[in-house]
């Protein structure tokens, strides 16, 4: 369903990720693991088109994705970046509404539905997004991505700087949207427990390459691999 094929990319002339291929199947949740600085975020940005491809390509729904990020979003690629990057001087409502409207969905209806689905945001609906707590911003960034009605959702370090109660809530939300709406998810994380609570298999990255692809059970069983690649 979603494929990254022979991805090579980086910033300026510096290559950070090299010849990476991975696949996320229809309705699947896949984790992207690895220590800090192995290139997980760069791979995510490569997938969205926010950094130009030096080589390789991305396929969404078995169609080759055009290079412009906005076009990829319209093909069904949702993105929740590391550090959230909500629109700070726009209200919670507007953050969701602009995402829906830009993809041809009714903004008012989407906001009403989402405030029901994410009760945590409802009391903050007319507050500026910049004034929310880290956890609330993370939920909002997720809601904003979902308002584009994605087929595949890319999540970059969703638990970073988020209080534990919201981490649990987020795991619940991700499972729910995956099961009910069949949205496929690729989640980059350092928090192994969070990942393995939702994902069935994982790719492990090291130095800008995919080291191995493993399923949840083998990774849980292999303490040596966990220590070597993830430092846990």
């Amino acid at each position: 369903m979603f494929k990254i094929i022979n991805a090579t990319g980086g910033y300026g002339k510096t290559t950070i990720i090299q010849d990476i291929s991975l696949t996320v199947n229809e309705g699947e949740i896949v984790a992207l693991l690895g220590r800090n600085g192995v290139g997980k975020s760069t791979l995510m940005r490569y997938a969205t088109g926010l950094i130009p491809a030096m080589d390789g390509q991305v396929e969404i729904d078995s169609k080759i994705a055009p290079s412009a990020p906005a076009k990829r979003a319209k093909m069904g690629l949702g993105y929740v970046p590391q550090g959230r990057f909500v629109f700070p001087r726009m209200s919670v409502t507007e953050n969701i509404a602009v995402a829906a409207a830009s993809n041809g969905y009714n903004p008012k209806q989407t906001v009403a539905d989402f405030l029901k689905d994410f009760p945590m945001l409802a009391p903050k609906a007319s507050d500026l997004a910049g004034g929310l707590s880290g956890g609330q911003q993370q939920i909002l960034a997720l809601a904003r991505a979902l308002a584009t009605r994605p087929k595949i959702l890319l999540l970059d370090e969703p638990t970073e700087g988020v209080q534990p109660s919201i981490i649990d809530e987020m795991a619940g939300i991700l499972k729910r949207i995956n099961e009910q709406q069949g949205i496929a998810i690729l989640v980059a994380e350092q928090d192994l427990d969070f990942c393995l609570s939702i994902a069935k298999r994982a790719y492990v990255m090291e130095k800008g390459c995919i080291k191995i692809a493993v399923d949840k059970e083998s990774l849980l069983a292999d303490k040596l691999l966990q220590q070597e690649l993830l430092g846990v």
Binding site: G49, L50, K74, P88, M90, A97, A99, S102, A147
Partner: protein, 288 residues
Amino acid sequence: MEIDFLVTVLLSSLSSAAILLIAAMGLAVVFGLMGVINLAHSEFLMMGAYAALTITKAGVPYLLSIPIAVAITMAIGAVVEILIISRLYGRLFDTMLATWGLSMVLLQLAVLLFGTATPSINLPQFNISIGDYQLAGYPLILIGVAVIMLILIYLLMTKTTYGMQARASIQEPEMAQAIGIESSRVNTFTFALGCGLAGFAGAVLLPIIPATPSMGMAFAVKSFLAVVVAGPVALTGTALTAIGLGGGASITASLLTSVAGEVFFFIITAVLLWRYPMGISAKWRRKL
């Protein structure tokens, strides 16, 4: 008699504030919202004035010439954004240099085309009298024009999909693209809108400020200061600074001398920038 004098001073100060607000609105969008320093801004005001002047001379009613002037300056603004500004986002000094050059070219072009003399349009002038005092009517109309302009731009930016997309593209350009906003197209329109507002200012001020190639300069400094003092909440902030600074300077000028009015403007600006380096609205929890 005293009351008449106060009302007269108040009305003329409000119209000074309105004129400053009309001239600063385009800057509030281009600099306040987008963060682009367009040093050719005063030339857009001038082009709006000459456009309205030329069209009126061709026999079109003055009121009809205003929207045409806006359309022309918007179109030129869009071309400038696509050719120059879009390549320089995030490069403040390069943008300043490029637009400074553009400003010189446009200024000289206007001198070549229209000369430095001051052609005027003959619009029926009217006065209203308050007690013993006479006030020109047109500047008073501009108070209403400024209010309507402010409300319309505020509604455009907060209530429409374009407005939300424009603010999203400016606040987080990458994320705006990642949720499907064609931000380069949106930015072109926003910049063009700012230029169109400058053109509107030039056209609508034409009856009281004759078109000359350097007419925009008279507004450039004060408009810029009003927008800088306003800070990140660009529209509400600029409305407030235009009333406070422009109106205050005008009151001071009426009570003392016109020099005192200028001194008031610049001293208050300096004090405000010293107390609020990021602008008076830096901590406001408002959208615009």
